[in-house]
């Protein structure tokens, strides 16, 4: 079945949530406008009718006050004369047989013959500038003391005209209000749809593989902008994670292939040689040691990946960074002593942060391990301080330091400085430190210690009220 592009467009438009919302609001709006106009009309009409009845009543009361017959006739004459003071009033005085005696009505109306008290409505023929017209008259009748009949009425033509004018005005204003409502609804719906469609279009492009796309923002800072900017932040993060993953894959390919092929070559060469148990054993031992190194690298990569994925965020509790650092310092203190280095630890008071004790321990251990490894002589200082809502772990050494232009690069995976290749290590320690810092919304940087290197880890301090959690007792007695 052929469907025109326009047809699809309208059908889609009618199917949108925005349209549904607009439609509901329009119906509510229309109903309230109509109700308002209806009540306005009712009260106006009611008011007019009462006005007329009051006028007629007043006239009747005035005429009743005329006690003698001649006086009454005179007053009626006066009042009903053309150009008299009430030109849309009608009067008729008749004898008991309804023969007219005075007044501006030619004959007693058929509708009022019963002479019941109350209000009667009857039509009269009037000649106007526009030709003969039929007007309705509202009247009241009664019998005088001498048996004569009196009718006082009022021509309703003016009131009807007035009421019709109000009705027309109300109808027009209703129509205009509804028209504006529809137009506003359509514009709002269109506007909303355009914004939503912009998001949909961007996501479609991203799904198709164009990861550089971002949701356009209007700059107004409204909810759509907020949604868009949240999406953009999310996309940035995803892109960064993907880039990280890609880098890891590349690096694994490059850096693990070398030791793996070396390992393979060693085994192959050993097989080519003359069978010799002693040599075989030696080759196997070397192979195991290389395999262990590979596994170490693998585990380090996994730890980094885990920290970067933020998979442990849900286990984060409040921990004392000073205590964690103290334990790590204690672990490394004999290493420093054996190397003839002075390891100073300084953390005057507890510094509570929200985080993972194991990852933070590992990060500080990596920093300390680096400092001890690359400092040939002198001292290494580990300090933990908290100020301005920021916890600051510093590992300062008196070693050779790192040139300023390389201080960022060493955080990348597998990056090792020339001259450090002879020292054991896999080039992943600082990558883990940075990943752990990021996981905890913190930073990891390197600075000049004049002389030496200063590694700085900053983390946001946990809010006061939280209690520090104890370490995990489930792991204390495993074997």
């Amino acid at each position: 079945m052929p469907v025109t592009a326009r047809g699809i467009d309208i059908r889609r438009f009618l199917n949108t949530n925005a349209f549904r919302i607009a439609a509901v609001y329009f119906v509510l709006f229309a109903a309230s406008v109509l109700a308002l106009l209806f009540f306005f009309y009712l009260s106006t009409a009611d008011f007019l009718e009462r006005e007329i009845e009051a006028t007629v009543d007043a006239e009747i009361r005035g005429l009743q006050e005329q006690h003698d017959f001649q006086g009454l006739v005179t007053v009626i004459h006066e009042r009903s004369a053309p150009g008299g003071r009430a030109d849309n009033m009608l009067y008729l005085l008749t004898d008991p047989l309804l023969n007219p005696l005075a007044g501006n009505l030619s004959q007693w109306p058929r509708e009022a013959r019963q002479m019941r008290p109350g209000w009667f409505l009857f039509p009269i023929k009037v000649s106007t500038r526009n030709g003969p017209e039929t007007h309705n008259v509202l009247c009241s009748v009664f019998v005088l003391g001498n048996g004569d009949h009196l009718l006082v009425g009022r021509d309703l033509h003016d009131a009807t005209v007035f009421r019709n004018r109000i009705l027309t005005t109300l109808a027009w204003s209703g129509l205009i209000a509804l028209g504006l409502g529809i137009a506003g609804g359509v514009i709002m719906t269109r506007n909303m749809l355009r914004r939503v469609e912009a998001v949909a279009k961007t996501t479609e492009q991203i799904i198709r593989g164009d990861f550089a796309q971002r949701v356009p923002l209007s700059g107004s800072g409204d909810e759509f902008d907020q949604l868009g900017s949240n999406l953009n932040v999310m996309l940035d993060q995803i892109e960064r994670l993907m880039a990280g993953m890609r880098q890891v894959t590349d690096n694994i390919a490059h850096d693990l292939r070398t030791p793996l092929s070396r390992l393979r070559a060693r085994l192959e060469v050993t097989l080519l040689e003359k069978p010799d148990t002693g040599r075989y054993a030696e080759a196997l031992r070397e192979t195991i040691s290389e395999a262990d190194q590979l596994l170490g690298t693998f585990n380090a990569l996994l730890s980094i990946a885990e920290a970067e994925a933020g998979s442990r965020r849900d286990t984060a509790t409040v921990v004392d960074l000073a205590e964690i650092a103290r334990a790590v310092a204690e672990l490394y203190e004999p290493v420093a002593e054996e190397k003839g280095l002075v390891l100073r630890f300084d953390a005057p008071r507890p510094v509570n942060v929200r985080g993972d004790r194991h990852l933070l321990s590992q990060a500080i251990a990596n920093l300390l391990d680096n400092a001890l490894k690359y400092t040939p002589a002198g001292n290494v200082a580990l300090s933990v301080r908290g100020a301005d809502q920021t916890a600051r772990v510093e590992v300062a050494d008196s070693g050779p330091g790192i040139p300023a232009d390389r201080r960022e690069a060493v955080f990348d995976r597998f990056v090792r400085l020339e001259g450090s290749r002879s020292t054991p290590g896999n080039g992943l320690g600082l990558s883990l430190v940075r990943a752990v810092a990021r996981l905890h919304d913190g930073t990891a940087t390197l600075e000049d210690n004049n002389p030496g290197l200063k590694a700085i880890l900053t983390l946001p301090i946990a809010p006061e009220q939280a209690e520090p959690a104890s370490s995990d007792p489930a792991l204390a007695e495993g074997a």
């Binding site: 380090a300 672990l331 290493v335 194991h358 391990d369 490894k373 792991l475 007695e477 495993g478 074997a479």
Partner: protein, 224 residues
């Protein structure tokens, strides 16, 4: 000593079983969770080595079922999942130790040995004694042949662990996990340095070394 190995990967199971047999253990094998549970519920084994991910029935569910049935055979969990959370889950399910794949065979052997010769619960003992070495857990002092040895708190805990596993091989990872509660590789041989410090304090003034290094595996506190 009779062990039950529940591991679905044929190659891994072959090499573990071979290694354990060569170390003097009798090893039965199950390749599937429900079979493993059936065999283990007989209760005829001294220890179970259970892979965490098994077809038929998950390793942790298997252990939980055994524990619910009051079968208290020690269990060593093998798993490729090494995050701290994963360990905690494994130990909560009723496992007694948790070893992350890949592992050195010496590590597996040391841990099985530790499981098989587990001493009484740590809370019940007040004094530990290994040959001439005595440790008072309440007074927190250590003597060798009546001569007091001055230890730092961490050295005390290190020695306590070694004494509880006296005569067994204890690996560096076991020490790092149990004495320091760290589950990462500190790269530098920090454990070696700590152990050699402890060794110096223990052997100072004595001819016979107490703490022995086992090549490629770890350490052993000799029972004189």
């Amino acid at each position: 000593m009779k062990l039950l190995l529940i591991e679905d990967d044929q190659k891994t199971a072959d090499y573990i079983a071979k290694g354990l047999s060569e170390s003097g253990y009798v090893v039965d094998r199950a390749y599937e969770g429900r079979d493993g549970l059936f065999m283990a519920s007989g209760g005829g084994y001294d220890a179970l080595v259970v892979d965490r991910m098994l077809p038929g029935m998950d390793g942790l569910a298997l252990i939980a079922t055994l524990r619910a049935a009051e079968i208290k055979t020690p269990v060593l969990i093998l798993s490729a999942m090494g995050a701290v959370d994963d360990r905690v889950k494994g130990l909560r399910a009723g496992g007694d130790d948790y070893l992350v794949k890949p592992f050195a065979f010496a590590e597996l052997l040391a841990r099985i040995e530790a499981l098989l010769r587990r001493g009484p619960a740590s809370g019940a003992t007040v004094k530990l004694k290994t040959g001439s070495l005595e440790m008072d857990l309440l007074a927190r002092n250590v003597t060798r042949s009546g001569r007091e040895i001055d230890l730092l708190p961490r050295e005390f805990r290190l020695l306590e662990f070694l004494m509880r596993h006296a005569g067994q091989v204890v690996t560096r990872t076991m020490l790092l996990e149990n004495v320091w509660d760290y589950h990462f590789d500190p790269q530098t041989n920090v454990i070696d340095v700590h152990v050699s410090r402890l060794r110096q304090k223990l052997d100072k003034g004595f001819d016979k070394p107490l703490l022995q290094t086992v090549r490629g595996a770890g350490y052993r506190l000799n029972v004189e």
